[in-house]
Amino acid sequence: MNANRFDLGGGEPIITLRGIAKSYWREALEIPVLQGIDLEIPIGSYVALMGPSGSGKTTLLNLVAGIDRPTGGTLEVCGHELNDLDDDELAAWRNAHVGFIFQNYNLVPVLTAFENVELPLLLTSLGRRARRERVAEALALVNLTDKQWNYPRQLSGGQEQRVAIARAIVTDPDILVADEPTGALDAKNAEEVLGLMGRLNADMGKTIVMVTHDPKAAHHARHQIHLEKGVLDRAVEVNR
């Protein structure tokens, strides 16, 4: 086994990274962020990417989510070789396969909770009634049916993040990517959000890749992958 390849419990991989490298350029200066990443993440995994600032964990998450492109290597996610997709195809792929959960929730302030959750469905072929049903299901899942007509400013941080989770799952994606999902929450709300993510993984089989600094948050994952200076350092199975 390659030094950077880890066993995350077998099973069919939903994410396969081979020799992934990513560099940024500052004028003529190349700044490598990721180097030679080989990783397979099986379907239904719950992985926490950890590491110090600048280790490349968010960059790795962005590559997996298809919002950034590697400068080297190949990346296959949900059966698609992402390097082969043009920008529009990649956008459509994201809509179908990936749900995003951000640290700052990133809800649209002028839309209600219901409308925020409905947003990604506008890109699908679903009719109005089907969309409403899907949104209602997603909001029920995050236990926010009674807040569906509230605007983000009328919700607490925890509620906003639950709306963001509803928005992430409303298209029934295969993968959820979360970048510091509890970074802006207090302990109680963080625990609630992490519990919800755990249920999405355990009950609905969603593959979750989460970037976090927080060991408590990482403890909710089934595997922790540590990065150090742009390379995979170690993988740890979480014992609960």
Partner: protein
């Protein structure tokens, strides 16, 4: 939620900003629409489709100088001429000096034939015309003017002269309807009322209006008439009716250039203001745009949404500006139409409205496209970093 609802709600993100930019658009479109309509109205004075076969013969020294009415004999003898009508601006008012309208002493025997389109001669009966010809103290008025003053046939209209020292009491014998409202804000009475009331006007007239058989004969006729009366005591200046009217418009200076200059300045100003506003609004939404794209909205779809916002914003401002201009046009017609007859035609034409709408949409697209394009080409990861 539908796309339009999404666009509309995005527009209301900053209500104050939206209100201010719509307000500035309303004022700009209002200004441009009114100015362009003024230009159209002034143009219509010189491009009256009925004036193509008419000439004005006046004193070479100016319109305040008189010509002998005997010149009419020579004019009538010209083979190109169909009719000749003596016409003198009377400049009287009805009851109140502010109640001013165009009124003329005119040759009753030829006025209808010379201005047959303006009087809607085809719709007048012979009896109506004869009634006017029969009564030397009779007058004819346009329908708009009659309606404005509540006049009907048989009413007596006392006019107070301002140029000439007479106050004729005229009986309305005919009310005519014309195709252009401006042609209806006029009163004509028998020329002899002026000649008999003002001895110094005996045998004199301000101008002859000459109707020719064929417009192509006009240049030759102009040259011949002016040559014939050259070096006489009363030299003439003969010109087409359009040229004659244009002389009045020119008294206002190069108003066309002024109006076009103001229009360009207004359009440029609003383009800069809108571009700045849209640029700021879009830059503030860098993170949101990145989230939209992360969720699967393609760059071109986000660009379309942003452009639609810009177009909706200016469209709204333009529509409100045009409504305001329409309302103002009604005010201009009623307030100034009687004083300056051509203002009775003042309106925001569909061509002007379309021009304003097209201009506003172009401003919306131009002002939104550059910041929107830049925002949608920005890497998603970079946009997401601008959060918080």
């Amino acid at each position: 939620m539908r796309w339009l609802a999404l666009i509309w709600k995005s527009l209301l993100r900053s209500r104050r900003r939206t209100l201010l930019i719509v307000g500035s658009l309303v004022l700009s479109v209002f200004t441009v629409a009114v100015l362009q309509s003024l230009l159209t109205t002034l143009d219509s004075i010189t491009s009256n489709p009925n004036s193509g076969n008419r000439l004005a013969v006046r004193h070479k020294s100016g319109i305040t100088q008189m010509l002998p009415r005997s010149y009419e004999t020579f004019l009538r003898q010209q083979p190109e001429v169909e009719t000749v009508c003596s016409l003198q601006w009377f400049g009287g008012y009805y009851q109140d000096p502010r109640n001013f309208f165009a009124n003329f002493a005119s040759d009753e025997t030829t006025i209808f034939q010379t201005f047959r389109e303006e009087f809607g001669l085809a719709n007048l009966t012979e009896a109506q015309v004869k009634e006017y010809l029969r009564d030397g103290a009779g007058c004819i008025v346009g329908e708009s003017l009659a309606l404005k003053n509540g006049w009907k046939v048989g009413d007596v209209v006392p006019l107070t002269g301002t140029i000439f020292p007479i106050n004729p009491r005229l009986t309305i014998r005919l009310i005519f309807k014309s195709s252009r409202p401006s042609d209806e804000n006029v009163l004509h009475f028998h020329y002899k009322v002026l000649e008999e009331g003002v001895p110094r006007m005996k045998g004199l007239t301000g101008a002859f209006w000459v109707r020719v058989h064929r417009p192509e004969d006009i240049p030759r006729l102009i040259e011949r008439v002016d040559r014939h009366f050259a070096n006489s005591a009363y030299e003439t200046l003969t010109e087409t009716e359009s040229a004659f009217n244009l002389a009045f418009v020119k008294m206002l200076g190069n108003i066309s250039a002024i109006i076009q200059g103001i229009t360009i300045a207004v359009v440029l100003a609003i383009l800069i203001v809108t571009a700045n506003t849209m640029g700021t609004a879009i830059r503030e939404r860098g993170a949101e745009i990145a989230v939209f794209r992360a969720m699967g909205f393609s760059a071109s779809r986000v660009l379309s949404l942003l452009l639609a916002e810009g177009v909706l914003l200016v469209g709204l401002g333009a529509a409100l500006g045009l409504l305001l201009a329409q309302a103002a046009a009604g005010g201009v017609r009623s307030a100034m139409g009687a004083v300056m007859p051509f203002f009775a035609d003042f309106e925001i034409t569909s061509a002007t409205a379309l021009l304003c709408l097209a201009g506003a949409l172009a401003v919306g697209l131009l002002s939104t496209f550059i910041p929107a394009y830049a925002a949608t080409r920005r890497p998603i990861t970079e946009g997401l970093r601008s959060v918080g």
